[in-house]
């Protein structure tokens, strides 16, 4: 049976994840309301604006259902703003900001860590588990500061961690869905859902 993957579709780079997941033989659903979470095998939280996304998650009653699903072990992957939403703490540089989150990973996400759009960049990345470099696209990207020993670091750049896994929760501060390289999506589906 095909893996059935939900993509949070309140705002942001939704269709890019949907297209990529469909291309690697997943079935997908756009998640706008709690009933869309029924029967999914994994959830992707896309990039977008984290301040807008968290307000909409709260407004449309999606926070508790997603937290409950995570408690049952549902694999959840957040890219860029999605990684911020999954983190325990959010900061601007070192300064912790008062922004609610789903709080599912022991990580401090440092928002806009590289600077404004002018500082957005592309860089090839060495990623644990991939043989060849991966084209990383960073857009007003956060850095991920692990707060626990239990996180598995999958990739770092000069400034710090940009891809990690903590049990069923995966965070990447870059955008694999903006490339035509499906390897990270495949890795997530294979390791998180199929357990291979």
């Amino acid at each position: 049976m095909k893996p059935y993957v939900g993509v949070l579709a309140l705002q942001g780079g939704v269709s890019e994840h949907i297209n990529m997941l469909n291309s690697i033989d997943c079935k997908t659903v756009e998640v706008r309301r709690p009933e869309h979470l029924n029967d999914i095998n994994a959830l992707v939280i896309p990039g977008g604006e984290s301040t807008a996304l968290i307000k909409l998650l709260i407004r449309w009653d999606l926070v508790t259902p997603i937290q409950n699903l995570s408690g049952t072990g549902l694999p959840i992957w957040g890219t860029c703003a999605g990684s911020i939403l999954l983190s325990h703490e959010i900061s601007e540089k070192e300064h912790i900001v008062n922004q609610p989150s789903l709080d599912l990973a022991p990580v401090r996400a440092e928002r806009n860590s590289f600077g404004r759009q002018l500082a957005s960049f592309q860089e090839d990345l060495i990623i644990k588990g991939l043989k060849e470099p991966f084209p990383g696209i960073f857009i007003r990207a956060p850095l991920l500061h692990p707060l626990s020993e239990s996180t598995e670091i999958l990739c770092s750049v000069q400034e710090g961690v940009v891809f990690l896994r903590c049990g069923n929760i995966w965070l990447s501060s870059f955008h694999p869905e903006l490339t035509d390289d499906t390897r990270i999506h495949k890795m997530f589906i294979e390791k998180a859902i199929l357990g291979s």
Binding site: E49, Q117, R140
Partner: protein, 297 residues
């Protein structure tokens, strides 16, 4: 080991626009309004000195905003800050890039600086958004380096009819090009005055190679949801919010309507009790030479 880092690439520019999809970008004239917009869930703000409705009412030459005012807004919010330069005014664009705005809108809302040429947007690391009324105009702007397109609509009117006209025109032309036999594309490109490679892209992919937003005259949650259901990727709201009776509540309602644009019950709920919408203008009451959508080509 580390690799070379590239900034200002096409992927990084168009990717930023892609992350704004499904969101609302709001015109603001000061830090206080920017904070209201961010609180309401805007994905970005457009910093400008006067909203289009005031530019229309007051007349005179409309220019790029005061850098101090843009900096004040940048300091007040964490969401992206966009700003407008005049059509063809490549030095205003240089200034906006020096100020590190996140997106530049080469906008017909300001008085054009060049009646023949738009800015060469490939020269900049900051991405540009440009307005379009028809497909060939959108493709010309993309060929000049625009990383995002929006309808022109008729800004400052609170009347959605022109945005609908432009959206239907662009999206309809895309559907027709998709159905056109390959051998006709070259002569279509010639007639349209649009680059062949981009005509071919649209034929093959059934969409623009960049994100396509609605703008110009959107004033209510239902207007915003209409543009989303027509098939656009997101919404700019200019005068519609801060020229209305209760900007904070209306801004939030428009954000919520866009996030659930396919659900009429939600749009009904968020549309209630918003106070007065901005007073609208009928397009036929605007003299032809005062129509902003006619600026640029």
């Amino acid at each position: 080991m580390s690799f070379i880092r590239d900034d200002g690439t096409w992927n990084v520019k168009t990717g930023h626009a892609q992350m704004l999809k499904g969101g609302v970008i709001m015109d603001v004239v000061n830090a206080e309004q920017a904070i209201i917009a961010e609180e309401a869930g805007a994905v970005a703000v457009m910093a400008l000195e006067r909203v289009p409705a005031d530019i229309r009412a007051q007349g005179g030459v409309a220019r790029m905003s005061d850098p101090d005012m843009i900096k004040g807004i940048q300091a007040a919010v964490t969401i992206p800050v966009m700003a407008k330069c005049r059509i063809g005014h490549f030095v205003e664009a240089q200034v906006l890039q020096a100020l590190e705005v996140d997106f530049i809108d080469e906008s017909e809302v300001l008085t054009p600086a060049d009646e023949a040429n738009h800015v060469n947007k490939w020269n900049y690391k900051v991405p540009f958004v440009c307005g379009a009324t028809v497909l060939e105009e959108a493709l010309r702007r993309i060929a000049e380096g625009a990383a995002m397109i929006r309808t022109k609509g008729e800004a400052g009117t609170g009347n959605v009819v022109e945005a609908v006209r432009h959206a239907r025109s662009v999206l309809g032309e895309i559907r027709r090009l998709q159905a056109t036999p390959f051998e006709e594309l070259m002569s279509i490109s010639k007639v349209m005055g649009a680059p062949y490679e981009l005509v071919k892209y649209v034929h093959e992919n059934g969409k623009l190679p960049v994100v396509n937003f609605a703008a110009g005259g959107i004033a209510t949650p239902a207007d915003a949801a209409l543009m989303m259901q027509l098939g656009l990727d997101g919404v700019f709201v200019g005068s519609g919010i801060f020229k209305s009776g209760n900007p904070a509540i209306r801004a939030k309602a428009i954000v919520e309507a866009v996030s659930q644009f396919d659900k009429a019950e939600v749009i009904a709920r968020v549309s209630a009790g918003l106070g007065e919408a901005m007073v609208g203008i009928n397009i036929s009451d605007i003299p032809l030479n005062e129509k902003m959508a006619n600026r640029g080509w």
